[in-house]
Amino acid sequence: MTQELFYEDIHVGDDMPELVKGPLQKLQHVMYAGASGDFNPLHTDDDFARAVGMKNGVIAHGMLIMGFVGQAITGWVPKKYLKKFGVRFSGMTKPGSTISITGKVLDKRVENGENIIFCEVVARDENEDVKIIGHFEASLPNRD
């Protein structure tokens, strides 16, 4: 169960609990293709991927990695409080990678009667290569 989270308990500079995913398997690309409907063979067919210039074969769907980041966020901030979530894809992810998702509270403010927290999230592989840099905003309740 996601713990209830109150505006008063969040401070600028707080870390989001880290989430570690992987090592990624090609089977997960197949599952994600079916779930999302993105059947680009770049993610599931090594021969195709090599033919379009990926020397080591298939790469993960960027949206799968964004899904990991979404898991990290809504494992901490209840989904119902999430207002905005955006990412920039900055690197390709190969099978076998282990992805760590970390985050930090950058700002908190009361805006139009809402308690907004603004956070940065980053997904990196085991070599510290950044795959995603993103941000999210959530509107949290008061403790009383």
Binding site: M1, T2, K21, Q28, M31, Y32, G34, A35, S36, G37, D38, F39, V52, G62, M63, L64, M66, G67, F68, G70, Q71, I73, T74, G75, P78, K79, K80, L82, K83, K84, F85, G86, V87, R88, F89
Partner: protein, 149 residues
């Protein structure tokens, strides 16, 4: 080269009936064990009406309705050279099983940029506004699609 005259183009809507099984399937594919996405009773216990759609669920209607390939084709972008640059969501309310959501895709911007290495890229920003069967705004999705040249 993306067709610059297409800025402002609005495409026919994506219409998608949200199923509980599809929400569960996406959570399973991501490997997200959060019970709110998997179990209706657990979701209700945490204040939801049913299992809510996970944060990245809007990829599902976009891809399963074949809308993205159709738009890429209409913009005269080479599908083989496409990269997904950015993805951003604004959420106005939860999406639940049984909802029928209608998304209207629109081309917001097309611009040419030069990478650090000097190669040219077209950057296409696409926005989809989703409403539910009551006509209420549920979410907005914004995607930056990059065509390498």
């Amino acid at each position: 080269m993306a067709d610059l005259s297409k800025v402002g183009t609005e495409y026919s809507p994506i219409i998608w009936e949200v199923e509980r099984g599809k929400i569960r399937e996406l959570a399973k594919a991501i490997g997200d064990p959060n019970p709110i996405y998997l179990d209706k009773e657990a979701a209700i216990a945490e204040g939801y009406k049913d299992t809510p759609a996970p944060p990245t669920f809007l990829v599902v209607p976009m891809m399963w309705c074949d809308k993205m390939p159709a738009i890429i084709n209409d913009l005269k972008i080479n599908f083989m050279m496409v990269l997904h640059g950015e993805e951003e969501y604004e959420y106005y309310q939860q999406i639940y099983p049984g909802d029928i959501i209608t998304g209207t895709p629109r081309v917001i911007n097309i611009e040419e940029k030069e990478s650090k290495s000097g190669s040219k890229m077209d950057m296409v920003t696409l926005e989809v506004r989703y409403k539910n069967q009551m006509g209420e705004d549920v979410a907005k999705a914004r995607s930056l699609i990059i065509e390498r040249k």
